[in-house]
């Protein structure tokens, strides 16, 4: 008989990193190695409390532990935020399709992120950087509410700024203190000549409202709907296309996604809500 789909692998939180006032990264070590493709997600269980889906933010090249970056947004994430090092957890997965990295080869990759949406993007970014020569260029545009709300600050303002083949720009909705760079939502730093649209793949991940307007902007620039990859956030519960909560039209976000091209889902109702 097959393994029980509902049984998580036991694991432990070995480190908790404060990223921003509302976001923490948890380093989770599962008892069994867990291979995942960048963009896939796992179901993280807090035993006795609940379970929620998260896309690991670490590189898939690391299989003995994973970083899970979590924004405090509801009951379950609130409880996770009060967890400390040593907390026992359960992990199911990985689930879903992940980013189609091989389809990206030879292209200009245009990453647009917002807020905690940088978590899956970080995993993607690390994957792309590992084989940066395979891609024409990686252009990353990322916005946070305020400078304090940036996550992965050390790398974001440090090593990521100096990678050959990577063009990274940041913005904040509202500046404070020392911020000298752009102020405005992330769509204000998207420019039609950021990438060669004919040979580019755009990856968008962030809050729904940001994903909506970023997508509209990209379409306005002339991007084809099939070249815009969206990491959809829905209520993924079982992880394998049965429980029904995450459906967008005929798709199960947990199984057919969470990464969809805009082309795939654009005609279904309320995709951004």
């Amino acid at each position: 008989m097959n393994r029980n789909l509902y049984q998580p692998v036991n694991g432990e939180i070995t480190e908790v990193i404060d990223e921003s006032p509302t976001i923490k990264t948890f380093v989770v070590v599962p008892e069994e190695k867990m291979k995942f493709k960048t963009g896939q997600f796992v179901e993280l269980t807090l035993p006795g409390e609940g379970e929620a889906p998260f896309t690991p933010s670490s590189s898939p090249a690391v299989t003995d532990q994973m970083d899970i970056t979590i924004m405090k947004a509801g009951r379950m994430t609130g409880q996770l935020h009060s967890c400390r090092k040593g907390q026992k957890v359960g992990i199911r997965g990985p689930y879903g399709n992940g980013y189609p990295i091989d389809d990206f080869v030879g292209k200009e990759i245009y990453i647009v992120g917002g807020g905690v949406g940088l978590a899956p993007i970080r995993s993607l970014f690390l994957t792309l950087v590992d084989r940066i020569k395979d891609f024409e260029t990686v252009v990353c545009r990322y916005g946070a509410k305020t400078p304090e709300d940036f996550i992965y600050k050390n790398t974001l303002f440090g090593s990521w700024q100096k990678i050959d083949g990577v063009d990274l720009r940041l913005t904040v909705d509202k500046a404070n203190g020392q911020w000298k760079d752009n102020v405005g939502v992330v769509t204000t730093i998207l420019k039609p000549d950021d990438v060669d649209i004919k040979n580019a793949a755009a990856v968008v991940c962030g809050p729904p409202i940001m994903m909506k307007f970023a997508t509209l902007k990209l379409l306005e620039f002339g991007f084809a709907a099939k070249d815009i990859y969206l990491s959809m956030e829905k209520n993924m519960s079982c992880g394998f296309g049965k429980c029904g909560h995450c459906m967008i039209g005929k798709y199960y976000v947990c199984k057919d996604g969470p990464v969809f091209t805009y082309e795939q889902i654009k005609d279904y109702p309320n995709i951004w809500d």
């Binding site: 789909l5 035993p47 079982c238 429980c243 909560h245 459906m247 005929k250």
Partner: protein
């Protein structure tokens, strides 16, 4: 020797007793206007009723219980050892609902171990309908009032007894093992059965004569998504969720975690897409805040999305939702209205191209 395929028996009791000797068997029992399943007691003197129509509760209860323990921490959970069991009195619509559930829960790399355990141990004894209910409309969804496949045994009632037919190895083995109970099927009984089947089919067709469509149901659903029918229809809905509870193909479930005295458990429980927060995510975003949107999603899932994925409709036309709900949504009326919308749309488009 050729295995037995079709036999005759004059009374149900010896047949059911023989099944009960091997395993628990659940039989239909009248409760109010409806039939429910209860465990058969061979020592009881009263004869089991032959249900003329599907039971009130859906067959999914036997395969996918309302609530079950799906995982345990920190030790893992082996699915409980399910003993063989039989259900008597399932109808063609029930069998087709099992086929649909199989597509979901027996999917290659994602087999649900709890469903598998029950499915393998279930001995399916179906029976012919001969009095379709007011809400039955299986004929509109490729069904019929009698099963021709998908059962272990099927029972057809005729004037002087019952024709018992096998459609699986398990069923043929049973007939062989109990051959002393049965006699050969008289030619007249077979003719009678054909006649009853044809009459029942005709009755169903007459009952649903008004349900005529100008396109496939899948196309009607897909083409009319933007109309107001769902919002209008949802006006009487009181969100009781009875429609999804009694639906034999609705299979949405909810996973939640519990603390017990000496373990943590992950539970799996039926859920309903008609529930307001069903699709809500942390932070409050909800793609279907409006009731009409939820009704549309439920019916689109049944009659378009599932079809696009698996090639069959996820509705068997059993009409349970029509009987059960506290509001006044009748899936047949919704379909009729949508068909009208489609026709109206066609006319508008034709006008526009002129």
């Amino acid at each position: 020797m050729r295995k037995m395929e079709k036999v005759f028996i004059s009374k149900l009791k010896p047949f059911l007793d023989a099944v009960a000797e091997q395993m628990d068997i659940y039989v239909p029992k009248k409760s109010g206007q409806h039939y429910v399943f209860s465990r058969y007691d061979p020592s009881a003197s009263s004869e089991v009723e032959f249900n003329n129509i599907r039971a009130c509760m859906p067959v999914k209860e036997f395969l996918f219980p309302l609530r079950e323990l799906a995982a345990v921490f920190p030790e893992s959970l082996e699915p409980e050892d399910i003993k063989p069991f039989a259900v008597f009195g399932l109808k063609d619509c029930d069998l087709r609902s099992i086929e649909i559930l199989d597509k979901v829960f027996l999917e290659d790399e994602f087999e649900d171990p709890f469903y598998v355990a029950r499915r393998q141990k279930m001995f399916i004894i179906s029976s012919d309908c001969f009095e379709p209910g007011e809400s039955c409309f299986c004929n509109v969804l490729d069904g019929q009032p009698y099963a021709e496949s998908g059962f272990d045994l099927n029972v057809s009632q005729v004037k002087n007894g019952f024709i018992v037919e096998a459609d699986s190895q398990k069923g043929r083995d049973f007939l062989d093992k109990n051959s002393n109970l049965f006699t050969e099927v008289p030619e007249s009984a077979l003719n009678e059965r054909d006649k009853i089947r044809a009459e029942t089919k005709k009755k169903l067709q007459e009952n649903n004569a008004e349900l005529k469509f100008d396109a496939t149901i899948r196309d009607i659903m897909t083409e009319t998504q933007d109309c107001d029918v769902y919002d209008e229809e949802a006006k009487t809905c009181v969100e009781c969720q009875a429609c999804t509870r009694v639906c034999p193909t609705c299979h949405c479930f909810y996973l939640y975690d519990t603390k017990q005295k000496d373990y943590f458990g992950k539970m799996k429980m039926w859920d309903s897409c008609m529930r307001l927060t069903y699709a809500q995510v942390a932070g409050g975003a909800n793609p279907r805040k409006v009731l009409g949107e939820r009704l549309k999603h439920r019916l689109m899932h049944k009659l378009a999305y599932f079809f696009d994925r698996y090639g069959v409709n996820m509705c068997v036309g059993c009409g349970r939702c029509v009987d059960a709900e506290a509001g006044d949504i009748d899936i047949r009326r919704v379909l009729k209205k949508l068909n009208q919308e489609l026709k109206g749309k066609g006319r508008k488009e034709a006008k526009a191209t002129k």
